[in-house]
């Protein structure tokens, strides 16, 4: 479904990621793991169109999308839940969801999708008229994911969904990601909670200083990587 080949991104003269290649197949749950500054968020932002790659290609179902505008990429079927959630704080929950379904032109379809999201995230149903900025961190994360799902994406990209949440809410978020995967949603997940992530995903890529160091199944990653060292910000590869 998604194929990234030899993608490099620069911030001015500094290379943020170099020759990153990865792929996500239909129905897969794939993770990008790595320490802070490894290039995980840059990779997602570039796929989503917020950044332009310096070189390399990104294709979605065979169509090149590198360098296209973010709105085009969303309409082609990629939805990003960014780090920090970025929900619209002054807009109500219902309005946030409505905008998530902007690419669905039909109002009736949008209304049906909102009802579906309420079934998936019952707490949002109780908060429909509340301003997004007044929700708790966990509720905001649920709203951000629901808003992304409103566009019926082919690929859902989640950037650090557990960041800043209490342990109980982290459990809920990981449970939710598992449920979405179970429903057939294709997911590319960026997480620092490596142990929990490897328990959940089909495959993973370990990024280090902007390049892919190891890729494969969770068992394969564990074989090569000292998972605890990834938490501690060290290189991660076992001796």
């Amino acid at each position: 479904m998604l194929t990234v080949q030899n993608m490099s991104v620069r911030y001015g003269a500094i290379a943020a990621i170099r020759d990153v290649s990865l792929s996500v197949k239909q129905g897969e749950l794939v993770a990008l793991i790595g320490v802070n500054g490894a290039g995980k968020t840059t990779t997602l932002s570039t796929i989503a169109g917020a950044l332009r790659p310096f070189q390399g290609s990104i294709t979605l179902d065979g169509e090149p999308i590198q360098g296209r505008q973010p709105e085009y990429i969303t309409r082609r079927g990629i939805a990003l839940v960014p780090e920090g959630r970025e929900i619209f704080g002054s807009l109500s929950v219902a309005e946030n969801l409505t905008l998530g379904g902007f690419v669905r032109r039909n109002r009736g379809e949008r209304e049906r999708d909102i009802q579906e999201m309420v079934e998936l995230f019952p707490i949002l149903g109780e908060r429909m008229r509340q301003a997004g900025g007044t929700l708790s961190g966990g509720e905001q994360q649920q709203l951000a994911i629901a808003r992304a799902l409103m566009s019926h994406p082919k690929l859902l990209m989640l950037d650090e969904p557990s960041l800043g949440l209490s342990p109980v809410l982290v459990d809920q978020i990981f449970e939710l990601i598992g449920r979405l995967h179970g429903r057939g949603v294709t997911i590319l997940l960026v997480e620092q909670n490596v142990e929990r992530t490897l328990d959940l995903v089909d495959r993973a890529y370990l990024l280090h200083t902007g390049t892919v160091e190891v890729e494969g199944t969770p068992a394969h990653i564990r074989e090569f990587v000292d998972v605890e060292s990834v938490y501690l910000g060290e290189r991660g590869r076992k001796a």
Binding site: A50, P70, T74, P82, E86, L91, F102, S151
Partner: protein
């Protein structure tokens, strides 16, 4: 003192200023651009009335609608032709562009029409008054209040009940994220400029209605009013802009009543002292709005 006539005059001024401020902040919210060409939209509205009065005789209401339409079209065109090409450049480039557009439009009016004031047609209602509770109240002021309230209500419906309107509010909150939801940047920005032009066009009718004339530099004063009102109300809030406009209009009217005759010529200086005091205590304006977001580009 505080009479019905005073209240209606103050509300009339506040309503006009509220529309002015809203027209400025709706563009600022998305582009983080103080559009210095905004005042020229009022000039364009005024000259449109003048030019239309030279042609076949049309009812004033039709001329007014056409004049507002020209202001909307001009605003949209300035975005399409001048601002869009430099949108992803620096904010300085955008500001210089807005000065350039302002100068260009002013000079076009100077060269094509005249540096001298031109009379604009007004309906007789604009010079008539009605007696309310024993006091004479100009129809023009009542019309300004009613028109502003109706326009503000329509905008509330647009911004709260339509997907495009919600997208516009979202874009003012976080433009990058708005685009990430598949909402086209050009569509949202064009809509913001069109609404800005609509508000400037309507204000133009009442602004030129005061003197029944239009000059190439008529836009300078409303531009300053819009800017100060948005600073009072809050640059990051649409509601703040409306509140700022009303506060400016009402306080300015109050100063006119409360100041002794000898100090009336310093009315604006007193107004700015009050504005400075407001900024000292509320640096972000009366309504703070959302967290600052990156500008569109």
């Amino acid at each position: 003192m505080i009479t019905l006539e005073f209240i209606i005059n103050a509300l009339s001024l506040g309503s006009t200023y509220a529309l002015l401020a809203l027209g400025m902040v709706i563009v600022y919210g998305i582009l983080k651009l103080v559009n210095f060409a905004y005042g020229e939209l009022i000039m364009i509205g005024g000259y449109s009335l003048f030019v239309l009065s030279l042609g076949p005789r049309l009812p004033w209401f039709v001329m007014a609608v056409l004049a507002v339409g020209v202001a909307v079209l001009t605003s949209w065109l300035t975005e399409r032709v001048a601002f869009r090409p430099v949108r992803d450049k620096s904010l300085t480039a955008m500001l210089i562009t807005s000065f350039a557009v302002s100068t260009l439009l002013q000079n076009a009016a100077l060269l094509i029409i005249s540096p001298r004031a031109r009379a604009v047609p007004l309906p007789s209602l604009f010079s008539e008054s009605v007696v309310l509770l024993g006091q004479s109240v100009p129809w023009r002021n009542i019309l300004a209040i009613v028109t502003s309230v109706v326009l503000l209500l329509l905008l509330v419906v647009l911004l709260r009940r339509t997907v495009l309107g919600i997208a516009l509010r979202a874009a003012a909150d976080n433009f990058r994220m708005t685009r990430m939801l598949g909402i086209p940047a050009n569509l949202v920005i064009s809509l913001a400029f069109a609404i800005s032009g609509l508000l400037a066009g309507v204000v133009a009718l009442f602004w030129v209605g005061r003197t029944a004339s239009v000059t190439p530099t008529i836009g300078a004063a409303p531009l300053l009013v819009a800017f100060v009102a948005t600073v009072i109300g809050g640059m990051r809030s649409l509601e703040g802009a409306v509140l700022g406009g009303y506060v400016y209009g009402i306080v300015f009217s109050l100063i006119g009543v409360l100041l002794p005759q000898a100090l009336l010529e310093f009315r604006e200086a007193f107004m700015f002292i009050i504005v400075i005091l407001i900024i000292l205590f509320r640096p972000e304006g009366l309504i703070r709005g959302g967290a600052p977001s990156r500008r569109a580009g």
